[in-house]
């Protein structure tokens, strides 16, 4: 099987006035990949994610480099053209699942609006597709379709947000800390769901997290980011079993482990 | 930040001048502001009468100066009493919550239903014309705003963990209010107060204009406007001068309000 590259970032530098936020980063995500970008706060991981969809705040600028999505360079693309990509080719889910839906509209109406903007489906087709997408994320579809966002629990909302992100079958799903605000059990379920959907839809997942534990199970590629620079990247098995960079090693050691109980955690960071 | 510091100096200087005028008005005033001289009536601006004279031959400059004392002085008095009543009321209501708070909110709602001016006019009409009654009427309108502001600040801060911590540390409610709530309330209240003083000045002037405030012959800017309106075509300066005075003082206090808003934000102090 030939690996199709969905996203290729090369030599990307993002600046805030003269300060480098992200420096010369390189990464490539293939179809079917679960690419995990790991970093602590201030590492530039979320800025990188925002840059892909052209969601950078005004004061941040991509100073150099390219972001190739499906072969098309997204850097410096006009807002109107970018909008065509968002939702259809790239979609996002965020840590703040409450912000994914407006509280004034039913979930179903918001899914419908999304479909109306990007497709030529009839009203009936749209409803079918919306219900189907809710079913795919294992939600009681009819009930959620007719619910407002505040009537759902955190886990349900994040599921609905995933449904919304996946409804147009994007090639790349960017998940920016999607499980940070959730309980560990709910988080585990959401991750499993994302993995299943990725298999079914054949898309790639660009997963951003500060916690290496969320990477262990599903990712196949990992990049570790610190202060705007990628310090280490590669296949998960390599990075996890033979971390080369000191920072990567330190990150691993800082996590409390259930089996190995030591008197103190390593904190060489 | 040159721009900022210049603005600050400008604000401080104008305030100093204003304070100077307010306190020393009776001594600076070249004439008795109430002395009628019919032979000198409606004189234009001259070296003797810096701002001319009015329809009764009274020196306008002297009347503006002493009128400032009435208008601006009364505004400060109103503000002071409103703060004194409103802030503690809001603090307690927000902090104690429960039944007290519910009753308080009903009172506030009742006041907020009607526009400030309507309530003030009705109240001062009810109490009868006169400066004291005007002050009383405007205080009754204004204290509600401060109580509401103080209450809302307390309600937001009360939720935060540092208040729980203070309780865990055995601090009494009074101490929590004093140490944790008042610093938060002060900044907000000061900004509202400086922005409000302009409105209060306008309110005094307009109520005096319709004859509810200062009674003749006492000089007051709004009342002066009223007296001058009959002579607008012959002596427009009689209306323009108190009008401009009102405008400038209101403007100064609004600028001061903006400045204080930046100042009370701790985050702007450093960094």
């Amino acid at each position: 099987m030939i690996q199709v590259t969905v996203l290729a970032i090369s030599d990307l530098t993002i600046q805030h006035r003269k300060t480098m936020i992200v420096q010369n980063i390189e990464m490539s995500v293939d179809e079917g990949d679960w690419f995990a970008l790991v970093g602590e706060s201030g590492s530039g991981k979320s800025v990188t994610a925002a840059a892909i969809g052209g969601l950078l705040p005004r004061e941040l600028k991509a100073a150099s480099g390219s972001i190739l999505l499906d072969g098309k360079n997204l850097v410096n693309l006009k807002e109107r053209e970018l909008r065509k990509y968002r939702g259809t080719v790239i979609s996002y889910i965020f840590q703040d699942y409450q912000g994914a839906f407006t509280p004034f509209m039913k979930i179903g109406a918001q899914l419908d609006e999304m479909l109306r903007t990007h497709t030529n489906h009839s009203k009936k087709e749209r409803k079918e597709r919306a219900l189907h997408s809710l079913k795919l994320v294992e939600l009681p579809e009819e009930r959620v379709y007719n619910s407002y966002s505040f009537q759902l629990s955190g886990g349900q909302l994040q599921r609905a947000a995933i449904a919304m992100a996946m409804i147009l079958e994007p090639k790349l799903l960017i998940a920016d800390e999607p499980t940070t605000a959730l309980d560990s059990m709910t988080a585990a379920n959401i991750l499993q769901l994302m993995a299943d959907l990725k298999e079914k839809a054949g898309c790639a997942v660009f997963f951003i997290t500060h916690d290496l534990r969320h990477v262990r199970k599903y990712a196949n590629k990992v990049a570790i980011m610190r202060n705007g620079v990628i310090v280490e990247s590669g296949m998960k098995s390599n990075v996890f079993h033979q971390p080369k960079h000191e920072y990567t090693k330190a990150l691993f050691e800082a996590i409390p482990s259930l089996r190995k109980t030591s008197a103190r955690l390593s904190s060489h960071l | 930040m040159i721009h900022r510091s210049r603005a600050r100096i400008a604000v401080i200087v104008t305030l100093a001048i204003l304070a100077f005028i307010l306190i020393l008005a009776p001594y600076i005033a070249p004439f008795d502001p109430t002395q009628v001289k019919m032979e000198e009536r409606l004189k234009p601006i001259s070296m003797e009468h810096l701002l001319g004279t009015d329809h009764l031959g009274r020196d306008v400059f002297s009347r503006i100066l002493t009128g400032a004392q009435t208008t601006v002085g009364a505004s400060f008095l109103i503000l002071f009493i409103s703060l004194l009543v409103g802030v503690p009321f809001g603090l307690l209501s927000g902090y104690l919550g429960g039944k007290i708070d519910r009753i308080f909110m009903r009172i506030v709602d009742a006041f907020m239903t009607f526009p400030d001016y309507i309530v003030a006019i009705i109240l001062s009409g009810f109490l009868g014309p006169g400066m004291f009654n005007l002050v009383l009427a405007i205080v009754m309108v204004k204290w509600v705003g401060y109580a509401r502001l103080a209450r809302s600040v307390v309600l937001t801060e009360k939720q935060k963990d540092y208040i729980s911590m203070a309780k865990i540390n055995g601090m009494s409610s009074l101490n929590i209010l004093r140490r944790h709530m008042i610093p938060h309330v002060t900044g907000n209240v000061m900004v509202l107060a400086t922005l409000d003083i302009g409105k209060i000045i306008l309110m005094i002037a307009s109520l005096s204009y319709i004859g509810l405030g200062a009674q003749p012959p006492a000089p007051e800017w709004g009342a002066m406007l009223n007296e001058a309106k009959g002579f607008f075509y012959n002596a427009p300066q009689l209306m323009l001068i108190p009008g401009l005075s009102i405008m400038m003082v209101v403007l100064i206090f609004n600028l001061l309000g903006d400045y204080l808003r930046d100042h009370f934000d701790v985050k702007n102090q450093k960094g």
Binding site: - | I168, N169, G187
Partner: protein, 261 residues
């Protein structure tokens, strides 16, 4: 093992109901012994934070009894609550919300000692009545440079703020500190440092901890005994060594599964 008089905190059949009749805490009993760390694991809605607030006398309880050093917390009126207050401290999840943004760090730090003057912690005996010196010593204990004392909270990072809060919690040498998700809002590397610091302080000062978290691995690292809570009830409790035993409650096994994945 259990010697009477060693029990710092005893909770008997504690229940707390919310207005809607839903029980946030349902018949919870537990004890914390001197110098020990008891861990409580639970997801959100398990009632673990409500339990913490009840133990801190921030919420009224509906049923049951809380004994702190054999003194009851709840037939206590306000005055008799005062000596109890000197025995218990807390560290919450969000360090920013735990410091008044308008106060300098030193004023927040010294709040317990400023307002409970009778307390004389052993490690501050030689410099008591010297406020700045005491503050500097506390900062030294949590590994912060004393220059931060005159800063405002927004000038410190999350980890530094949490250290300030820990310094404040130990300042009155309490018998018990309730740690409610103390590292949940911090980066992984900072989490490790804070957990290490808490362990160091516990060993040096002999303070008991009640460590509440949804992170089973962190609870396991910190505690000798672990309680698992679900929907207001204790579903399982065991010593750290029995965590992987077959006798564990299915819910505990689920949790273990998540953290071992």
């Amino acid at each position: 093992m259990r010697v009477v008089g060693q029990e710092i905190l005893t909770v008997k059949n504690l229940s707390k109901e919310y207005v809607c009749g839903h029980k946030a805490v349902d018949q919870v009993s537990l004890t914390v012994n001197k110098g020990e760390c008891l861990g409580i694991v639970g997801e959100s809605g398990s009632g673990k934070s409500t339990l913490a607030r009840c133990l801190l006398a921030l919420e009224k309880i509906d049923e049951g009894e809380i004994l702190l050093k054999e003194k009851s917390l709840y037939n206590a009126n306000k005055k008799s609550l005062h000596p109890v207050r000197s025995e218990i401290q807390a560290v919450f999840q969000n360090p920013s919300a735990s410091l008044n943004p308008k106060l300098k760090i030193i004023d927040s730090l010294m709040e317990p000692l400023d307002f409970q003057r009778k307390i004389q912690p052993s490690f501050l005996m030689d410099i008591r009545n010297q406020r700045t010196k005491m503050a500097e010593r506390l900062f030294e204990m949590v590994g912060l440079p004393s220059k931060y004392l005159s800063y405002y909270p927004h000038e410190l990072s999350g980890g530094q703020k949490q250290r300030v809060i820990i310094a404040r919690a130990i300042s009155i040498e309490p018998a018990l500190i309730i740690l409610d998700e103390p590292t949940a809002s911090l980066d992984v590397s900072i989490q490790a440092k804070i957990l290490n610091l808490l362990k160091d302080l516990q060993e040096d000062l002999g303070i008991s901890y009640l460590f509440i978290s949804h992170d089973l691995a962190a609870v396991n690292f910190m505690s000798q005994r672990i309680i698992v809570m679900k929907q207001g009830q204790i579903v399982d409790q065991c010593s750290k060594h029995d965590l992987f035993s077959d006798r564990r409650h299915p819910y505990t096994k689920d949790l273990l599964h998540v953290f071992e994945a």
